[in-house]
Symmetry: C2
Subunit: 479 residues, 2 copies
């Protein structure tokens, strides 16, 4: 997996960080945070926090004491050990888009299906740029609502041998995910020792944690499976319009969610989550790849490190409907800051279109290209006698050409990033090969990748046990 | 103009900088640099440097002594004082694409004309994001070769009231540019006191400065007009394939060119130039928006500051044929590092397509959007009681909505960047308005901008004098 050992881009002064620190303390103390779960309220009350109705008023020092119990870094185990992921420090792990009810293939936009889900899983397995297919790569609308989490988890476990995300629609869904992980890895005790999934717990921002996601959080944290506590903030809707206010709110929400996990199971793995963009103030629509979201990203990295926590943020976000210029620059406008901030767990890294409503096959390939480029860009330079290439200058001389130089010949295969999708063909050649724009080339690449896909090997007995579990649970759920 | 007071992204350690420092010293001492100009060779010989044939072997300390004479920062004056530009420090100034023989409008790619040149100049005048139309915004192929520099300079001087770039095809062309600047600003003594143009002197890399550009450099530096001494490096062709070697070569080339300017007129304004990308090793085609070019950008900024010089680099570069996803992400892959590096003079900021062979009208608009976004992104956060918005939280409460909050109402017009081009329309509305992709929307924007264009006022007598000069010189040149 990728290690980002380049410098972090940090824009908050010590004074600025201090003001943000005062801000979240005031919020949790005076406004408090709602938890729509009796169990959560009971835990906080027992731990000495003031609870009124569903609102917990916190002592900031109590929160920090809980946060201090969380590990700074941890592993998430894949069934192929080569794909095990480290979360925290310089590590950056990437998962595909999460949640879209629609898909787009070229000009066609339609409801997502289970076969789309499988195809995106196959693509995620095929590209080394991704460490995970993610979780709900798209909503399989042709499968029953109550049991589709079983189908999705089974697909992620069998079509990929990478880590996967846990279902969070309800507590029982989380129980199913954990049970299926236990089957795949050889028992609940095994996965409690070696976590195998990451689950996304979103805050109903501002300052409210909802019951169903909290139920899932209780299951995952109790099972020692990492959870990402993510304030879901579109500035102007779920937070004030000013970035400092959104950052302060984000800290209050993420840290109180993390504190809950640490009460459920002290020391369980958590990730400081961030999903921050803004709405368009004229239409109210969410906007992505904005300057505001990039600033939020820079700051969030610095804030998470300030609290000693691994963090989730970024992705290849865009509001664009199709894989066009806007999709390209907006994805870069979020993914480059993601690398500059050193995000540890990056959801929505491939396939995100239309504000997250659509999983796009062409956009998936665009994003893979971007990820591949950035992994090269964020690799430190080696400066030594060999890379200074004085002998090449002696060989070539003034006004000469280095293409045939010995120094070049020894390195030409690996010296530069080789594009998957980008074309540098000259005009005549580009026209001869069909004059295909980037989206049209991406169509060919994703189709060829699916054709070449081979499922990773899986023990027959384990596969049978997973199938049996899915069949039994589906029947119990009435589907 | 834009002040970038955000932190610089620097990736070279002191040790790395030291190795690069040793590298360029070795190059200028042992390999030397060719100057295809007797005047240049004479100046260097008289200054005590060893000259053999056309090659100058330098004492690095001599170079540094010349570089130390150059101003760290300076102004370039526009005929509209509000558009005067500061070069150096935190200032970033942006010019449009420079040099393309072709233009693209939508699906049509064709030879550029003088009317295209005028239209790009009008667009550059229309958008505050640009500080200059640049120089050869496109090659006006329908005008005579010998005198087209007169037409271009006249267009830049009359259709815009921003700074412009000088023609560098030959010494006489430079003389014409300087003469026309003298007419526009009231005399040669005036523009020697207050420089009015920037001129691009490219190195014929590796390590050779050619005669015609040197002739132009002699004229501009003698007239105290800023020159950008730019190594033109595509790694693998004009330099070794390794980035440190290219950086070292770039330093050797830029600094020796700058040293020449300081011998021509000590203290004249110069800019450390950088144009660095790589070729595709399979096809030999130039590639743009690459990870290698971004790394080069980060390093070049740091190197220029090391030598106390303003620097030129970056732009909205791409190899793409059309304003598609690749054009979007490659432009962002160069323009974001341009801001992170804090480039002072940014050529090719709008309109660059197809590796610089094409000036694209749609791409121009894409790049304006990117520039506008990045100027917001690289503006420091204000963190105070007002932006922390505690009162908004008190007003909205848990799980509420900030759209109608007082704090929002007071700020909704200016709180977020408002896109020029990007769409966050939902699918239904986007389809109702025609389902236009970004390139199609850009077409509408550039056409509407040209329709709304109004030329900046210009004194009739000055205009007449310029026209007279152009007419006379055109006749002298036989066109």
């Amino acid at each position: 997996m990728f290690q980002n050992t380049m410098p972090r881009y940090e824009i908050l002064s010590a004074d600025a960080m201090d003001k943000l620190d005062q801000g979240w303390r005031r919020l949790v103390t005076e406004i408090g945070v709602e938890f729509m779960s009796q169990r959560a309220l009971d835990l906080f009350r027992e731990a000495g926090q003031r609870v009124e109705d569903n609102t917990v008023f916190f002592d900031p020092e109590f929160i920090l004491a809980q946060v201090a119990k969380a590990p700074r870094e941890f592993d998430v185990h894949a069934r192929n050990p080569a794909h095990t992921v480290h979360i925290g420090g310089d590590s950056m792990a990437f998962g595909a888009v999460y949640g879209p009810p629609f898909v787009r293939e070229g000009d066609v936009r339609r409801d997502a299906t289970m076969e789309d889900f499988r195809n995106f899983s196959r693509l995620a397995q095929s590209f080394d740029a991704l460490d995970s297919a993610g979780g709900v790569v798209c909503e399989p609308n042709d499968t029953p609502l109550d049991s589709r989490h079983l189908d999705m988890t089974y697909a992620l476990q069998t079509l990929t041998d990478k880590i996967y995300m846990g279902n969070v629609v309800s507590g029982p869904n989380a129980v199913d995910t954990i049970a299926m992980g236990s089957i795949l890895f050889g028992g609940r005790d095994v996965i409690e020792q070696k976590p195998v999934s990451i689950s996304l717990i979103n805050c109903n921002s501002p300052l409210r944690w909802d019951d169903r996601m909290l139920d899932a959080q209780f299951e995952y944290s109790a099972a020692n499976q990492p959870v990402v506590l993510t304030p879901f903030i579109l500035l102007g809707a779920m937070s004030p319009v000013t970035i400092p206010a959104a950052l302060v709110q984000q800290i209050a929400e993420a840290l109180t969610g993390i504190a809950l996990s640490q009460l459920i199971r002290p020391g369980c793995p958590v990730i400081f989550g961030s999903f921050m963009s803004n709405i368009d103030m004229q239409s109210g629509s969410p906007s992505f790849g904005t300057p505001e979201s990039a600033i939020g990203l820079f700051c969030t990295g610095q804030i998470a490190r300030h609290f000693g926590l691994p963090f989730r943020s970024g992705g290849g976000l865009t509001s664009s409907q199709v894989a066009d210029a806007q999709a390209g620059y907006e994805a870069a406008m979020t993914m480059i800051p993601t690398f500059l901030a050193g995000a540890n767990w990056v959801m929505h890294s491939a396939g995100w279109l239309e504000g997250g409503l659509v999983a796009g096959f062409e956009k998936f390939i665009v994003d893979i290209e971007l990820l591949q480029m950035l992994k090269v860009e964020f690799t430190p330079l080696e400066i030594d006698e060999s890379t200074l290439a004085f002998d090449a200058h002696q060989e070539v001389g003034h006004g000469g050409h280095f293409l045939g130089a010995m120094h070049t010949m020894e390195r030409f295969r690996t010296c530069f990033y080789r594009p998957l999708l980008s074309s540098s063909e000259n005009y005549e050649r580009w026209m001869r090969t069909g004059g295909n724009d980037t989206s049209a080339r991406a169509t060919k690449i994703y189709k060829a990748t699916l054709e070449a896909y081979e499922p990773p090997p899986l023990d027959d007995a384990i596969r049978a046990e997973l199938e049996e579990y899915v069949t039994r649970r589906r029947a119990e759920l009435g589907d």
